[in-house]
């Protein structure tokens, strides 16, 4: 396990997702990476019904799985007040969530996943994931892990070089936003600057980055949906198989 950076791949206009994945895969193979299986990261969100009478705000529990850690379930709770608590548990946690369906209902239409091929190159693991929500293609997420390093600040330049050299993505010198310095509350209730890029990396960090990206895709959908004036949130994407010039670039339906 090591530092992982998740990077959305900018979709060029007029290209289909499958085409780009294919292109990137071939590029990796010809540069010396080896194909090493498949991967899947999925996310399901459960929303609690707000109970105004006792002042409980609506809470969202995000339950994620990562095929790299097949026996674990990752969950992150958004308390609605901006506070996030994360938990790693055995995968049986999924069954426990089902016990709470009275309070927490699954938002089925926002079930989202990133799935695709896994490549290895030295101690690097590169995953080309195509993101789908409700069977609709949303975009491409590239995960790059450097297994032997535990701290992003140490190996960020290496990862950046990989992203630029191998995948031809231009990445700025700054740390990715997820690792940026942020203000946190200490246990004593004081505000403090915290440099996340100096922390020891944990598997939860990978999952949190996925959640961040997934949330972006979902938001994007709801914006797009309301802009195009179709039937709102549930009907967010054009179902056409030809590239559509929309806010999201080419959106193509992919069957996995």
């Amino acid at each position: 396990m090591g530092v992982t950076v998740l990077q959305p791949y900018p979709m060029p206009e007029g290209k289909s997702g499958a085409h780009i994945i294919d292109y990137l895969g071939k590029r990796l193979l010809s540069l010396g990476a080896t194909h090493a299986g498949q991967f899947l990261v999925d996310c399901e969100t459960f929303i609690s019904t707000p109970q105004p009478h006792n002042g409980t705000p609506g809470r969202a529990v995000h339950v994620l799985h990562n095929s790299e850690y097949p026996a674990s379930t990752f969950s992150i709770i958004d308390s609605g007040t901006g506070k996030q608590v994360s938990l790693v548990a055995d995968s049986i946690f999924d069954l426990l969530m089902l016990k709470m369906t009275n309070t927490f209902t699954s938002k089925k239409q926002t079930k989202i996943e990133s799935r695709g091929a896994r490549f290895e190159y030295g101690d690097f693991v590169i995953k080309l994931g195509s993101v789908t929500m409700m069977e609709h293609f949303k975009g491409i997420l590239i995960e790059i892990e450097y297994k032997s390093c535990m701290i992003l600040a140490y190996c960020w330049e290496m990862i950046r070089e990989m992203l630029q050299g191998f995948l031809n993505i231009n990445v700025g010198k700054d740390f990715p936003t997820y690792f940026a310095t942020q203000t946190i509350m200490t246990a004593m209730g004081q505000q403090q600057l915290h440099a996340k890029h100096n922390d020891l990396y944990e598997p939860t960090d990978t999952v949190k980055q996925y959640l961040e990206q997934f949330t972006n895709y979902r938001k994007h959908v709801s914006m797009h949906g309301s802009l195009s004036g179709t039937s709102g949130i549930q009907q967010p994407v054009h179902m056409s198989s030809s590239p559509v010039m929309g806010a999201a670039g080419g959106l193509v339906l992919i069957r996995s």
């Binding site: 101690d123 032997s148 140490y154 070089e161 990989m162």
Partner: protein
């Protein structure tokens, strides 16, 4: 029991006499045809023949005096010799063949190893050194535990490096070095000389009961390879303390293993690896491929 012993001794004597007699016959005479020596030869033979005859009689007498023992003699383990002699049942043969093969292999391998080691100019055995300069005092293999402790504590460590010393093999020390959050290394000492170095990732276990397993990460396997060649480079039986100090300083330069690009090609990655080699004098980082060109 005594009787049996006497009989056995008599049989033994008889056999040796018969043997002597035949030897005498085989030697023959001096060959010059001198009557005197020929007579002496015949006389000697008759004497010996007579002795054989009398001993044969003695043996016969003794045998006649023997009685069938009432119970079987306890012969200890030798009793088993009579049992299970068939080869198939004992399954000795395959084992024998196996051990023969092994010995053969060991012989072959040790022969090759011997030849190879003889060619190695970096030989570090103490005998070798002491043969060359027999009068130098060798403190290097003196095993003073306090000395090592002192030595390791004297090394002025950068704040990110920690040492943990323990002695799983009697008085010889093992130091586990943790360099920042980058890597862990186990240095196995023999006396003050460094015998072995294992390098592993920060998240990998490196405990005293498993000092030899390789890292699961390619980069640390490569660093370990380089660490071994550096170990040979810094080896100096005459100034062992200095050798250890400079080696540890060299090892500490890995704190920026992932942080520094190669001095020659100014890239971070070559063949999927960061610059794993550190120059022995300047401590500058190089890719393995870049260091010689």
């Amino acid at each position: 029991m005594d009787k049996l012993n006497c009989t056995l001794t008599a049989v033994k004597n008889l056999r040796s006499n018969v043997r002597q007699c035949f030897e005498h016959l085989a030697d023959g005479t001096d060959g010059e045809g001198v009557e005197e020596s020929r007579n002496k030869f015949v006389h000697d033979f008759q004497e010996k023949f007579g002795a054989i005859n009398s001993q044969l009689r003695e043996v016969e007498q003794l045998i006649n005096g023997l009685q069938v023992p009432p119970t079987a003699y306890s012969l200890g383990n030798t009793a088993y010799l009579a049992q299970e002699t068939s080869q198939d049942r004992q399954a000795l043969y395959p084992q024998l063949v196996n051990s023969y093969k092994w010995i053969d292999k060991v012989h072959d391998h040790s022969f090759l190893a011997f030849n190879n080691l003889n060619q190695n100019t970096l030989r570090r055995s103490y005998n070798y050194c002491s043969q060359k300069r027999p009068r130098l005092p060798f403190s290097s293999f003196n095993n003073d535990p306090d000395h090592i402790d002192k030595l390791l504590s004297e090394i002025n460590t950068p704040p990110h490096t920690s040492y943990r010393v323990f002695r799983p093999f009697g008085s010889n020390a093992v130091a586990i070095v943790t360099i920042s959050n980058v890597l862990k290394a186990a240095i196995v000492f023999k006396g003050v000389l460094i015998e072995w170095v294992t390098v592993k990732g920060y998240d990998e276990p490196l405990e005293q009961d498993d000092l030899w397993a390789e890292s699961r990460y390619e980069v640390f396997r490569k660093v370990q390879e380089h660490a071994h060649s550096a170990m040979l480079h810094f080896f100096s039986p005459t100034l062992p303390d200095l050798a250890v100090k400079s080696y540890v300083t060299w090892l500490n330069s890995h704190i920026k293993l992932f942080l520094e690009p190669c001095k020659r090609c100014s890239k971070y990655i070559a063949n999927g690896l960061p610059p794993t080699w550190r120059d022995l004098r300047t401590l500058e980082p190089f890719h393995e491929e870049c260091r010689n060109c």
